[in-house]
């Protein structure tokens, strides 16, 4: 039950800057995911919010109170670690009750709270087991139990599903979201797995090399990536990038793409001639005989309801997601038709998205 604000947060280790000036606000009750490749600074940011790491610069505010230099214990935040960090010398009940023991609660009260938490997580039958005997999913539930038993202001989770196998991960994803909705505490969830972030979060922050590239809802992130990095990182297979050189005028409805013209959403930004990138999601590509962009089929991956067809074009290899009933022969010459209202344009040098009718959002707002 807390509103978290991070202002100009920076963290340097000797030569290396892990986080370079992050700014964001997480409203009360939000499920906030920080997503990025390993080493992008997401875990460091989380550890600073938890108080396990001191920032080099910047401020952290919980409900408006500056806690930047408060001890971790004084912040009333729970942290769930990737490797669970269950104490091996205690059983499940002792593990869950451990945070309460510190608050000098009576034994009866602790027992009641532990039982209540176990009921919530459906692990009542495990209370007297040793933690080393548990399966990965159950360990994760115990770790969650230890976090929620104290009823903290916020939950911070550092890749909590990273150590689980794929099957469990899927199950825990929905359980986590369900738990969040029931206790309705602010949650920050760090992951490098886009599916986890997309499926659970209300808001996602994409981080790269210590910088936040974009903050938005999963739909915004997917449909209106603010930069080439975000467009490339989200989606599988990722967005296709086609390079070209052209100038742009505000109000244009089409671009000069090499020798042809391609319709795009109305451009809201004027540009001198320079290197640009046309971004097309695989699912926004269709085959058409009279299409201006042509190529030869390189391969096809059958995925059940759809197939991913890769096509070699003069501008690079393009992946298209097509219905699987479509017959495709390798080596066949095809024309590629783009859904014009879903195309994205990027500056090839800065990587930033160019403002158009559908990509109005700019980074960091």
């Amino acid at each position: 039950m807390v509103d978290i604000r991070v202002e100009n947060l920076r963290k340097s280790f000797d030569q290396f800057t892990a986080v370079q000036g992050s700014n964001f606000r997480i409203p009360d009750g939000t499920f906030f995911a920080m997503l990025g490749p390993s080493g992008c600074g997401k875990t460091t940011t989380l550890r600073m919010i938890a108080g396990l790491e001191l920032p080099t610069e910047g401020r952290i505010l919980l409900d408006g109170e500056d806690v930047t230099f408060h001890r971790a214990a004084a912040r009333d935040i729970a942290f769930v670690f990737q490797l669970f960090a269950l104490y091996p010398h205690m059983n499940v009940a002792q593990n869950i009750g451990f945070p309460l023991k510190c608050a000098s609660m009576s034994r009866r009260e602790i027992r009641e709270r532990v039982a209540e938490t176990a009921r919530l997580l459906r692990i009542e039958h495990l209370l007297s087991s040793r933690t080393s005997k548990l399966s990965g999913g159950d360990r994760q539930r115990v770790a969650l139990g230890r976090a929620i038993v104290r009823r903290p202001k916020a939950f911070l989770m550092d890749e909590p599903l990273g150590a689980l196998d794929a099957e469990f991960r899927h199950l825990m994803c929905s359980e986590l979201r369900d738990l969040h909705d029931r206790i309705n505490a602010t949650t920050i969830y760090v992951t490098h797995d886009q599916i986890e972030a997309m499926s659970m979060a209300d808001t996602i922050a994409i981080m790269n090399r210590g910088r936040i590239e974009q903050i938005g809802s999963p739909q915004e992130i997917y449909d209106r990536p603010a930069s080439l990095f975000v467009a490339d990182f989200i989606g599988s297979p990722p967005m296709n990038f086609l390079k070209f050189d052209a100038g742009l005028k505000s109000g244009d409805q089409a671009i000069d793409f090499h020798a042809t013209r391609i319709a795009v959403p109305e451009i809201h930004e004027a540009r001198a001639t320079g290197p640009l990138v046309l971004g097309v999601r695989p699912e926004h590509i269709g085959f058409a005989e009279d299409a201006p962009v042509r190529g030869r089929v390189f391969g096809a991956e059958y995925l059940g309801t759809t197939q991913i067809v890769t096509v070699d074009t003069p501008y690079g290899r393009v992946a298209a997601r097509l219905p699987s009933h479509l017959k495709v022969a390798i080596g066949e010459a095809v024309g590629l038709n783009f859904r014009c209202e879903r195309l994205a344009l990027f500056d090839a040098v800065s990587g930033a998205a160019i403002r158009t009718a559908s990509f109005g959002a700019t980074a960091h707002d």
Partner: protein, 319 residues
């Protein structure tokens, strides 16, 4: 495992019967070679003076408790007439002594020496492990300026035999009035052991994931509480192994004990070789003292052996 799998002789996980037999023989042979001198000492403690120095050595002999009685008592030789005039002996050991025309004059110094050994050995072990744990934790968890240099410096105190600094320490102790005091010996052995303790324990604590403490810190504990409730219970194996190594050193230490103690604080090692009987070394008494002397270490090791075994192989396998 099925019979077929077993008969498929060449397994990479299970040794062949012949290899097992060879390994077993080597281990047994080694055990016999190591234990034989100890058994000889234990046996000698039950021999009479003449059996102990008999040549060729006697394997079978009439056991007697003379060695133990001599160890614990001081005796004076008397004329047979004098002994005849005494009231009859009240205890079995009085009787045993009188057979040799002697009477017990009082207790020997073995008990106070043994107590010294216990206090100094366990005291210095406790201190070394206590200080070592704190230092190792700090080295393992905090960014300490020049940590590597400090660790090397700590280790360098072990690079020469401690006796090499015997003379400076003797002079220092004389100035500080620490010669022949238990405190002095405890401090000395602690100083020698603490470097070993820091290095051993740092390895163990490095192996304990930080997340455990961090979880405790986030959950409202102070660092000291986290250390006590989360780190130490998991380091218990390492602490036990370290304690045994420290205890063995301070328990057996001889050179400093000879140099710095003579009365008050004398430990067993310098005491045992000077158990003199009539006409020279009283071998059965020496053997009896040695037997008693090794007991506490054996007991300590047996009690902690579960930890010791795990401790020695700790960290070899990534979990």
């Amino acid at each position: 495992m099925s019979a077929i799998a077993k008969s498929n002789a060449h397994s990479i996980v299970e040794a062949s019967p012949r290899a097992k037999a060879i390994a077993g023989t080597i281990v047994i042979l080694y055990a016999v070679i190591s234990i034989l001198p100890l058994l000889w000492i234990v046996a000698t403690a039950f021999k009479s003076q003449s059996d102990a120095i008999a040549y060729p050595p006697k394997v079978f002999f009439q056991p007697t408790l003379e060695g133990y009685v001599n160890l614990f008592t001081m005796r004076t030789r008397q004329t047979p007439d004098f002994i005849a005039k005494l009231p009859p002996p009240t205890t079995w050991y009085d009787k045993l002594v009188r057979q040799h025309d002697m009477v017990i004059a009082g207790p020997s110094k073995v008990v106070p020496r043994f107590i010294n050994s216990l206090i100094i050995g366990f005291g210095s072990t406790f201190l070394a492990v206590f200080l070592g744990t704190l230092a190792a934790y700090a080295f393992s968890r905090f960014r300490i300026p020049l940590a590597d240099d400090l660790l090397f410096f700590i280790l360098s105190t072990r690079m020469m035999p401690p006796v090499a600094v015997a003379i400076p320490i003797y002079l220092m102790y004389r100035q500080l009035n620490l010669t022949d005091t238990r405190l002095g010996m405890i401090l000395l052995y602690t100083a020698v052991n603490v470097s070993l303790a820091v290095w051993l324990l740092k390895g163990f604590i490095d192996e304990i994931p930080r997340e455990y403490e961090e979880a405790a810190l986030v959950d409202g504990y102070t660092r000291l509480q986290a250390l006590r409730k989360v780190v130490l219970p998991q380091a218990v194996t390492g602490i036990a192994a370290t304690a045994i190594f420290c205890l063995i050193f301070s328990w057996n230490e001889y050179a400093f004990a000879v140099l710095l103690t003579s009365g008050e604080a004398q430990t067993m090692p310098p005491f045992i070789p000077f158990i003199i009987g009539e006409g020279g070394q009283d071998w059965p008494a020496v053997a009896a003292a040695t037997t008693l002397f090794v007991m506490p270490i054996v007991l300590f090791t047996v009690l902690l052996r579960k930890h010791l075994l795990r401790g020695i192989t700790f960290g070899a396998v990534r979990k």
